[in-house]
């Protein structure tokens, strides 16, 4: 029996519009159980509190509201981690499906619970295996259009501070300094971005005695290394 032919048994209480960039699939009520619909209701209620009524997604304004409720700054890494958890595709916007994904994974459905879950989430993300994935994600999250594959220097500086500032303060400070002073590179590629993470993890800083120009480090790091050496001289 084709499922697509069946009509929803329950009618939605609040109709909502779906924008073209949204990848939400309309859940057919026939596949729902009473229990999960109750849960979903909670998440959706929460979602709707912050979503923009006409676009049907949480927009930057909504996120700001959310942040103040959660008592975190909207530049706090935990929000980025939340975005990662929900596999959010567009910076500054959370869709319903994304929202649901995160809250389901965190097993929360109220603001209070969400607030409590954030520190745990941070711990989880900081685990090395996850952090590497999160680090790459945070780069891609900056893309503003489909064909983009690199990020401008200014954004990178901010992103580095947010994402690696607490663990690799020294390296971030120096590298950001370098990026601001140099004028060879106007953007950073994914390869360079990941390269820096490897650099922080593997290279003794600020001595950099185990760094070598003959290895396969991205050229930007070679230039950074030489710049550091000049300063240290």
């Amino acid at each position: 029996m084709p499922r697509t032919a069946s009509k929803p048994k329950k009618k939605r209480s609040k109709p909502y519009t779906v924008t073209s960039s949204d990848t939400v699939s309309v859940p057919s009520a026939s596949s729902e159980t009473k229990k999960s619909s109750k849960e979903k209701d909670g998440k959706y209620k929460l979602f709707n509190k912050y979503a923009n009524a006409s676009s049907g997604v949480i927009d930057p304004e909504g996120i700001e509201k959310l942040c103040s409720k959660l008592k975190v700054s909207h530049t706090d890494i935990k929000i980025l981690m939340l975005a990662w958890k929900m596999k959010s595709e567009r910076q500054g916007y959370f869709t319903k499906a994304e929202w649901r994904r995160a809250l389901k994974a965190l097993k929360v459905d109220t603001i209070k619970k969400l607030k409590k879950a954030l520190p745990e989430l941070e711990q989880e993300v900081r685990k090395p295996l996850n952090f590497s994935d999160f680090y790459a994600y945070s780069f891609r999250y900056c893309f503003t259009d489909e064909k983009q594959n690199c990020v401008d220097i200014e954004t990178i500086c901010q992103l580095l501070d947010m994402v690696l500032g607490s663990t690799f303060r020294d390296q971030v400070d120096h590298f950001v300094n370098y990026l601001k002073i140099q004028n060879v590179y106007k953007v950073i590629t994914m390869d360079q971005w990941m390269g820096f993470y490897r650099f922080c993890n593997e290279i003794i800083f600020p001595d950099m005695t185990n760094y070598s120009l003959e290895l396969a480090w991205p050229s930007i790091l070679d230039n950074f290394f030489e710049w550091m050496r000049e300063k240290q001289a």
Binding site: C150, T189, D191, R198, E214, L215, A216, S219, D222
Partner: protein
């Protein structure tokens, strides 16, 4: 049937003659023999009967008295030898050796006779008892009792060494006598020769040469010292040939080599004002050859010479190429390089026997310092340009080939062959377009050589340029053929250049005079009529014009000028006076080009067809120009064009260098992709090495640049880094 006859047995029995063992028999027989030996030694053997003595000796052995005979012989001979030794000891001065020699000869004769007499004992008793045979015994006895006699042993050695020393210091000695003595040693056994003579001889020689070499080195210059060393070496070889055993030759030459050469190698090579460097600078072929032949005999000798030559060559070459004075004239610069190359070629072939290791050292040195000057590729191209424009005029074909081959030699040393290619193309273009090449054959010959050296890719565009020239001639014929009415007016000669084969030039705006632009348009429509789908753009910065001019006093001249100059000059047909701004407006030539053009027309002595107000050297925006009515030149045809290839100015140089760097990027990327496609996975260091190797025939790739290209390819998803080992790259199909 049995024979009952008694068998008679025939038996042959040994003769059982009763041996009367006369106890005195042996003594008596021995006495006979002993007396005989005495007589033999006293040179009184003529009365002896060999047969009788032989029989006596034979009988003694037969009757089992072999031992008595043997010991008796030894004792008797020993006695005699001791006497002889005393006689020899008693000899004074020169007679000593003579006496020894004489007694030795006598002893040998006596020994021979005695041996013959005792032959039976030699073959039977001595054989079975394994004692030394008579002859060797006789020699040993001589050795022990005479040669090794305390009073003789040392004196003999010293006498010999003294003679050798005297001969070395110039005296004449009795060589035959010494030869006999050394031969005596050899006869006594090789170890006797070595221990009693050769070893001490070598030591004494070593001392002698140690002292002499020290004297020489303090007082002689390198060339003289080497002459002396060579002389000594020859002498010693001669000495061995005359009175030493042949096996001593290698040993004594080693001593001379060690003391005279090896121990003073560094000092000789580095001797101020006469050492290797001085010899090289002054082409002292003989001295160099001598040094080569002597030094090759010792360990590291040639390596030392080679190293000093290499470092001198590199230092001198470095000074040559980095001296700003010397790089003022590119043609001279290259000529100097060629001269140096010829010089060292000659040295290596004349003095060093074309030794390959020296050739290699020379080549690597040239390669080293030629590339120290980044303008070498440009200069070599300018040198060739000069030769092909005028330098080869009147030179036979064979000699032309020689010059071109030498240029190719320098070309091979270049690390940045692609830079050379760029300049060569530019210069060739100018030569072709101005029709200034001395010999088409020479041009083609050089292209062939470049092709052989670098492959088809290198020269395909250059060949395209020649083809364009040829095709253009045909096109012009067709144009004038189909437009006979144009033969009355100004003659237009067009060269149609295929973009891509010729050096790229930006199209420079320029308003051509009406008469010319009409012609150009006619040509354009003719050409495009027969070649649809093509686009023509006039390269006004590369053209020339021949203009007939009449000046104030009626002087008629034909001026050969550039297209820009023509545009400017033609303006004066309609105005007597023009300001800079008016000229600029009318011609639309860009300012820097226009200023250069006006300078060449107004500020060069002998070529100033127009006058400038004010008369300053630089062109100012407010300057005014008039025709120079007083222009004079003794030639009817005056050349004012500025299309000759010149050494680039600083900004031009930067531009060319930039273009070369840009051109290298795709080549590096292509190499990376080629390598990765076949290897699939490769680590960083190996990629750098492989890419560098692949590109080496064209230029020396910079590892940093290669790395940047790799990153760019990663960006474009041609390659990726391996997830676990960050040193590995993987090819993405």
């Amino acid at each position: 049937m049995s024979n009952n006859q008694k068998k008679r047995n025939f038996q042959i029995e040994a003769f059982k003659h009763r041996v009367v063992v006369d106890p005195k028999y042996a003594d008596k027989t021995w006495q006979i023999l002993e007396r005989a030996i005495h007589q033999i030694y006293n040179q009184d053997a003529s009365g002896l009967s060999f047969e009788e003595l032989y029989r006596n000796a034979y009988n003694m052995v037969l009757h089992k008295f072999g031992e008595k005979l043997y010991t008796g012989f030894i004792a008797t001979m020993t006695g005699h030898l001791k006497e002889k030794a005393k006689l020899i000891e008693a000899a004074q001065g020169g007679a000593f050796l003579e006496e020894l020699n004489k007694k030795w000869n006598e002893h040998n004769k006596a020994l021979e006779m005695i041996r013959d007499i005792l032959m039976y004992m030699d073959r039977t008793y001595i054989e079975s008892s394994k004692k030394p045979h008579v002859h060797p015994m006789g020699l040993s006895l001589w050795r022990d009792n005479v040669v090794h006699s305390p009073k003789i042993h040392t004196r003999l050695l010293n006498t010999l060494l003294d003679l050798v020393h005297r001969e070395r210091t110039g005296e004449v000695i009795d060589r035959g006598l010494v030869r006999n003595v050394t031969k005596m040693f050899m006869d006594l056994g090789e170890s006797v020769y070595q221990d009693d003579f050769e070893k001490p001889f070598l030591e004494a020689s070593s001392e002698f040469y140690k002292v002499e070499s020290q004297e020489f080195i303090e007082s002689c210059d390198c060339g003289d010292y080497l002459k002396k060393a060579e002389k000594r070496l020859t002498e010693e070889i001669d000495r061995v040939g005359h009175y030493l055993d042949a096996k001593s030759e290698d040993k004594i030459t080693s001593v001379v080599e060690r003391e005279m050469i090896a121990n003073h190698m560094q000092r000789l090579v580095h001797m101020e004002n006469s050492g290797l460097v001085n010899m090289l600078l002054n082409d002292k072929y003989e001295d160099l050859g001598r040094m080569y032949n002597l030094f090759r005999r010792v360990t590291n000798g040639l390596a030392t010479v080679r190293d000093v030559m290499t470092s001198h060559l590199r230092e001198m070459g470095k000074q040559l190429v980095t001296d700003p004075e010397k790089s003022k004239d590119p043609v001279e610069f290259v000529q100097r390089l060629l001269d140096e190359r010829d010089k060292y070629d000659k040295i290596i072939s004349t003095a060093f026997g074309n030794d390959k290791t020296f050739q290699n050292a020379s080549n690597s040195s040239f390669e080293y310092f030629i590339n120290l000057n980044a303008r070498s590729p440009e200069f070599i191209s300018l040198f060739v340009d000069d030769k092909l424009r005028k330098g080869l005029k009147g030179i036979a074909d064979v000699d032309v080939e020689v010059i071109l081959d030498k240029v190719m030699m320098l070309f091979r040393y270049l690390q940045e062959k692609d830079v050379f290619e760029k300049y060569y193309k530019q210069h060739l273009a100018k030569r072709l377009l101005s029709g200034k090449t001395v010999s088409d054959d020479a041009e083609k010959s050089l292209i062939v050589k470049l092709k052989t050296e670098c492959g088809y890719q290198f020269t395909s565009k250059l060949e395209g340029m020649f083809t364009d020239m040829k095709t253009s001639e045909d096109t012009m014929r067709g144009f004038y053929g189909s437009h006979p009415e144009l033969s009355e007016g100004p003659t237009l000669i067009v060269q149609v250049l295929t973009t891509g084969s010729w050096p790229t030039q930006p199209a420079v705006p320029c308003n051509l005079p009406a008469e010319v632009s009409v012609l150009c348009e006619k040509f354009r429509s003719y050409y495009l009529g027969t070649h649809t789908g093509r686009r023509l753009s006039w390269q006004t910065n590369m053209g020339t014009a021949d203009i007939k001019a009449v000046f104030g006093k009626g002087q008629k001249h034909e001026l050969n000028v550039s297209t820009f100059q023509m545009c400017v000059l033609m303006l004066f047909n309609n105005s007597d006076r023009l300001s800079y701004k008016e000229i600029e407006q009318a011609t639309e030539i860009p300012a820097p080009d226009l200023k250069r053009c006006l300078q060449s027309l107004a500020c060069v002595k002998g070529k100033n067809v127009i006058k400038k107000e004010p008369m300053s050297k630089d062109i100012g925006e407010d300057d005014l120009f008039v025709v120079n009515d007083k222009f004079a030149s003794k030639f009817y045809k005056v050349k004012i064009g500025t299309v000759v290839a010149q050494k680039e100015t600083e900004p031009e140089k930067q531009e060319t260098r930039q273009r070369v760097e840009e051109d290298r990027k795709p080549q590096i990327e292509a190499a990376i992709v080629r390598i990765m496609k076949s290897r699939k996975i490769l680590d960083h260091n190996n990629i750098i090495a492989e890419v560098t190797k692949q590109l080496q025939p064209r230029f020396l790739a910079n590892p940093t640049e290669i790395k940047k290209r790799i990153e760019s390819l990663i960006e474009r998803d041609f390659l990726e880094r391996d997830n676990t080992d960050r040193k590995l790259y993987r090819y993405l199909a």
